[in-house]
Symmetry: C2
Subunit: 353 residues, 2 copies
């Protein structure tokens, strides 16, 4: 489907009552009520020539390079959080996944599943946030779909986005390409997103407001691969945080990692919140950060490029890949001791990304 | 994310108890439990070199032609129905949307949202059905994502797929390209899918089992555009059926339509079920049918090509586009009278496609 286009050119008797109205089952039925919802909420926000084609698919120009594709489902609770909402997150997250190949993200699709009774005002706010994030990142939402399910059959709203990009250069950036000796670089502070969501969920009032780091990393990646095409791997430490990402990569590349605790950029407010909540900042989702792995001798130059970009200002080398048949992720603590950073079993922190 | 790849190469202590087990929150947490679910259910079924890259995105070869993209969310109830299930439907529906541009569908992504407590056996059955449908259509699922939400926050399972294709030829097939005089062709019998779902939902036992027509139309479309590149428009009459599709196209192209009731291919069992349920076969979803619009003088040749394909065997000319400032869809009945085919307001038949 491609339902964000106002293809019907119809006039409706009365405009939607966005302020007080709610989504009902007719908005997902394929008829006139759905056409009005699309026209007044979606088409009004996602305005681009591909959507305006008004067909069940979007046709874009030919693009040079290998095709790259990714998808992600967003089921977060709460829907609105300091620094973003499910709409901006659904744009950033998928752009970032496409970008982690070194590709240039080109287009997004968006599939909405909405619970009957969901406030039209919230829907409009989410769609507008999504459109703004898409415009800022330069990656348009070219096609979409809306389904409505009965009350009690969803949790407000779920959004699945897919992204397509092209990989022009002769890059081979992959999770299995990390080699012992590679530097491990993080693009900035960790834990911000997870703590922002949790603080909202638990109604915690921290002295310093902690905002999600949700951001599109396509610009940062473009600068990085242009400067250092020798990058071995890029990955954004979302669900499961840096801990899950490094453990997964250790197995994929057949290496171990040693991190330096003192080098980890963690904001004091995030550190404090983690202590209060009893969680490890390494295990929490980030939505605007990436881990980069490159030959040690390239690390300094790469870091300079990252530090020059607004989203890499606090980038730092936090450790290195090592030869390790046990594929362990170890953390050297400030006291000179060492602990193993476990791959959590997954019980912790559901639905924060 | 790209979570259908068994990138971790891990061994798990015990295999999943697929027969009696259920999805729990840990399966969506990004940790070890999720890795096991991915490995034993998803990676086992969706086996292709793109998934095997094991990254958060899939990198495919460069492809020549304009890019085409579409997405659709599948929230049907019941999940299993005569002739298919939510898995096969999620593959066919999105391939069909991409194909309606005349493009060759190349790749699919799949985003799963699963309710805690969902039986692993059902999940496996759905994933295997999806993999089979994808293989049969020749369009691999190259990337995916899985999220788990708490019990009562979804309805078993929702799947959103996105599809990418390329449009090589100099085609301009679009919803706004229909001209007065164009022949309206349907590729086969209407109403089968909607009635199959409804009969299962209402526990109706019809004498003749009615099966969904769910099928991938990419092969049929390829044959059609090769033979007759002059096709003006293709569209699959899913949600809202032929009635909604023609009403939408009437407005998009600025024409009216006149259909011949006697020419509509409707299976006797479907006709009977519609009478019993009090619904109009023109208003029900189809999942393996397309409407084609072409210059009248090309209709016979196009019909021959369609009839030669297994999915177009019962294709028939069912009417024509006419000049009509009111954009009406009219049906000439067998009695020589005429009725207007309304664009339903959408209350009818939610969640059948």
């Amino acid at each position: 489907m491609n339902e964000f286009a106002d293809s019907s050119q119809r006039k409706f008797t009365r405009p939607l009552d966005v302020e007080r109205g709610r989504v009902d089952m007719t908005h997902g039925g394929g008829g006139r009520a759905m056409a009005q919802l699309i026209s007044e909420i979606f088409a009004a926000a996602f305005d681009n020539p591909y959507l305006a084609q008004g067909n069940d698919m979007a046709v874009m120009p030919a693009a040079t390079g290998r095709l790259v594709m990714s998808t992600d489902g967003y089921v977060i609770s709460p829907l609105f959080f300091p620094g973003g909402d499910i709409g901006s997150l659904a744009v950033h997250g998928t752009i970032n996944d496409v970008s982690m190949s070194g590709a240039r993200a080109l287009y997004l699709s968006a599939s909405f599943i909405i619970e009957e009774g969901f406030p039209l005002a919230d829907l409009k706010r989410i769609v507008q946030s999504m459109a703004r994030a898409s415009t800022e990142a330069g990656v348009p939402v070219v096609t979409g779909d809306t389904k409505v399910v009965e009350r009690g059959k969803a949790d407000g709203i779920f959004i699945s986005t897919a992204g397509v990009g092209v990989l022009v250069d002769d890059l081979s950036i992959s999770g299995d390409a990390i080699r012992p000796g590679d530097a491990v670089i993080i693009s900035g502070s960790i834990g911000d997103h997870g703590v922002a969501i949790l603080s909202k969920r638990e109604n915690l009032d921290f002295e310093t407001a902690i905002e999600s780091d949700s951001a599109p990393l396509n610009g940062l990646v473009a600068a990085m691969v242009e400067a250092e095409p020798s990058i071995h791997c890029l990955r954004d430490p979302t669900r499961g945080g840096v801990a899950a990402t490094l453990n997964e990569l250790a197995h994929q590349s057949g290496v171990g990692f040693v991190l330096d605790e003192d080098a980890l950029p963690i904001k004091p407010a995030v550190r404090g919140a983690c202590e209060l909540l009893g969680i490890d900042p390494l295990g929490i989702a980030n939505e605007g950060k990436l881990l980069a792995f490159c030959p040690a001798e390239k690390a300094e130059a790469l870091l300079r490029v990252m530090n020059a970009h607004p989203l890499g200002r606090d980038a730092a080398v936090i450790g290195q890949a090592v030869a390790d048949d046990s594929r362990l992720v170890r953390l050297s603590t400030s006291f000179g001791s060492e602990r193993v950073v476990e791959w959590l079993n997954g019980e912790q922190l559901p639905r924060i990304c």
